[in-house]
């Protein structure tokens, strides 16, 4: 059990490094067949963070996506192998030869949860809202869409300004959630009573406490829905979440903290499915971020910035296996790369490169000597004031001390830490990235000169050339080669030191069947139910 005082300042790192787990590989967690499930009952899911606005146009949070899954269906969905499959559409889009026109056929006889008809006009209105609403987070995801046509009630045609292959994937997430025009036109704040197509409909929300959805009478596939309602309980304290699961107060636990995993794995009344994420946790080293993010970079002159030997020594002193053991109970996946082993890109882009998961103290000491800096010091900023960050910081501190690098740790509240990082006001910053399916999303932003997340202030014309080439290249093979070359540069210069890939664990009561966890880390419970 863990009390949440410490927790209050910590939600954020989790959001970044563990949350938006993106696509990852984990077997779909399913148990028992539908025949064993009885109808009725309330399923309570303990969420690790509080969702933000329940408006798919504005929503940013990972947990928000979990809630939307039960009440806002999308044009497309993912199956258990992360393939895109139609949901409110009847088939994958027909794409014109020039890749500028997408034709999407819609399901017939579908109703929104206010009883109004779902049709092409509604799709048009939603997509246009996504593109134009002030503060829309979706606009950039589907920005190549120029116009939306609705030639008839069941056909939508998207006209693009340029080819954009991730479009279908975007329509399988929040951009593809279609909102009821009646609700949108009512003049109220949509987030306060969202209406979509879905097996469940919004009932109420008490900020900071819970969101309740109840079985929809309008849903087109009502027979598959067993539960009478789902309550999403916000339980930011991981220990009380685990405790609530064991006490039966909740039936599904979002992301179990590492220290509770062994206990729950021993508990016969719950199962513990896991999802390996495509994100990573690393240390961003401030090399050239002297004037702030995206301002002209020049070396900041700290011990670790001015000497690549010190950076290499810092890396060699880290025992990633021990870090994983001590800080995370051995549950994460230690690694040296931004791309996770679960990604198909991992093998080809890291082939032949060295990754030592154990410390090499002798090498590190030699490197410190070679640097010519007599007693190097590094200030390490932790992106959170929670115990996990504190453990991470202290373990690193102790490992570096063994090779003569003096590390001081400063745990910093997450938003403040990001501010400081963007301002270049740090030596090293322990921070994570939720990960993207394409390697570009895990590399470019952080180390390319024009990358919008390049807090390291790292600039290298050769690396820029390689990464830009990989962006334009179509052939998978040539991209493999380019990313491998990029990785070599990153390993030599170390603007970032990668530590591990987070693995998410979930708790599901065995009284419940049909709860599914796919590689994207979302909890799918709309068709779950209590066993007979």
């Amino acid at each position: 059990m863990k009390v949440s005082l410490g927790r209050f300042a910590t939600f954020s790192l989790v959001v970044l490094c563990v949350a938006a787990a993106g696509a990852a590989v984990a077997a779909a967690h399913t148990s028992r067949s539908a025949a064993d499930i009885r109808n009725g009952g309330t399923l309570t899911i303990g969420l690790a963070e509080e969702p933000d606005a329940l408006d798919p146009t504005l929503a940013r949070t990972f947990v928000g996506r979990i809630v939307f899954l039960s009440m806002c269906e999308k044009l497309y969905d993912l199956d258990s192998h992360l393939n895109i499959v139609p949901q409110l559409a009847t088939a994958l889009p027909q794409v014109s030869a020039d890749k500028l026109t997408y034709t999407i056929k819609l399901r017939k006889g579908v109703k929104f949860n206010d009883g109004t008809a779902f049709n092409a006009a509604a799709v048009k209105q939603t997509l246009e809202r996504d593109l134009t609403l002030k503060g829309s987070v979706r606009a950039s995801e589907i920005s190549p869409i120029k116009t939306v046509d609705a030639p008839n009630a069941t056909t939508v045609v998207l006209h693009l300004s340029s080819p954009y292959s991730p479009l279908t994937a975007q329509l399988a997430d929040r951009a593809g959630m279609i909102l009821s025009p009646k609700a949108l036109n009512s003049g109220g704040t949509f987030a306060q009573s969202p209406v979509c197509v879905g097996p469940f409909m919004f009932k109420d929300r008490v900020a900071g406490d819970h969101i309740t959805v109840v079985k929809s009478p309008y849903y087109y596939n009502k027979a598959k829905v067993h539960l009478a309602s789902i309550v999403y309980k916000i339980m930011t304290d991981p220990s009380s979440r685990t405790q609530a699961l064991r006490a039966g107060d909740i039936q599904v636990e979002d992301r179990i903290q590492s220290t509770d995993v062994p206990t729950l794995q021993k508990d016969k009344s719950v199962s513990v499915p896991k999802a390996v994420t495509i994100g990573y946790q690393g240390l961003t080293i401030n090399i050239g971020n002297k004037n702030g993010l995206l301002k002209p970079y020049s070396n900041v002159g700290t011990d670790i910035a001015k000497s690549q030997f010190i950076r290499s020594a810092f890396d060699a002193a880290l025992d990633r296996t021990t870090i994983n053991k001590v800080v995370f109970g051995g549950l994460n996946q230690p690694d040296c790369y931004p791309i996770a082993p679960v990604s198909p890109w991992y093998k080809p882009t890291t082939k032949g490169l060295a990754c030592n998961l154990h410390a090499n103290v002798d090498l590190a000491k030699k490197l410190v000597k070679a640097s010519g800096i007599s007693s190097p010091t590094v200030s390490l900023m932790l992106g959170g004031t929670d115990p996990v960050n504190a453990r991470l910081g202290q373990v690193i501190q102790s490992m570096e001390a063994a090779v003569g690098i003096k590390v001081s740790v400063s745990p910093t509240e997450f938003t403040t830490a990001l501010n400081r990082a963007d301002a270049g006001n740090f030596d090293a910053f322990a921070v994570g990235w939720s990960g993207r399916v394409d390697p570009d999303g895990n590399i470019y932003g952080f180390v390319a000169t024009k990358g919008t997340l390049n807090d390291s202030g790292y600039t290298d014309s050769k690396l820029d050339y390689i990464l830009n080439g990989a962006r334009k290249s179509i052939s998978t093979k040539s991209r493999d080669t380019l990313y491998r070359a990029a990785m070599q540069i990153i390993h030599r210069q170390r603007p970032l030191i990668y530590l591990y890939h987070p693995v998410n664990y979930y708790g599901v009561s065995k009284k419940v069947a049909g709860v599914q966890i796919y590689g994207d880390g979302l909890i799918r419970a709309a068709f779950a139910g209590y066993t007979k």
């Binding site: 220990s239 021990t322 373990v395």
Partner: protein, 294 residues
Amino acid sequence: MSYVDTSAAVTINPRARRRRLLRRRFLRRPLAIIGLVVALAFVLAAILAPWIAPYSAGATDFNALLAHSSGKHLLGTDELGRDVLSRIIWGARASIEAGVLATMLAMAVAVPIGIVAGYYRGWADAVIARLTDVLLAFPFLIVAVGLAAILGPSLTNATIALGIGAAPALIRVARGEALALREEDYVRAAVANGASDARILARHVLPNMLSTLIVQATVAIPTAIIGEAVLSFLGLGVQPPTPSWGVMLSDAQSYLSQAPRLAVYPGIAIFLCSLSFNLLGDGLRDILDPRTTR
């Protein structure tokens, strides 16, 4: 001095006799003696930590994580393989420092302000009372959390936050006492006899509110010790790897099911430390109380 001083019990006795009396009264109070001894022990532990702690506070042993008590580690080790006993001893520094300094800060700020406000009343009182009201309008912890968040987390800032947080209540108490005392007959008599303000404040008002102030300090030191633990627990006080009981509790939370002892020891340390100061202060209050007869 022609008036009769009704607080005679305090002032008539010659000092030496009074000291002897106080000592005798103190020795009759075993709880106060225990309090003094334990409080001194904590202070000594804090000062002598480098010599008496078996290990340094940050010495990790990744091969002995969460070890049980043994000859090597009397209270076992924590999640990073650090000696718990050593960390408790080192942790006393943060607690004592925060407890004593925050209380001194609060007293130094509050007592003069409170006396002036309560005794002179008028516009000074109005302004002070309003400012105090503003400060008091924010719950203590919110003020402390807010200050720690704004100033940045550290022991010094936590101490300042705790001191400032404790001041308004003390101002009110001091003001209230002064307000009540100036209505007392002996103060009125002194005023009627043309005694100077300074003399009245020093001889009649301050001594007569002393026992109340000691009660308040009694509450304030342990409150500040606990406050430091709370702020450190919240990540707003002492920063790891510096040990503090609050930090230890915060670290221990994640391991409550595996190693509840990690949460028990620092909690007991906080409890004993603040209890000892409370016992001592309580004894002192009794002893200094002019109504005390034995």
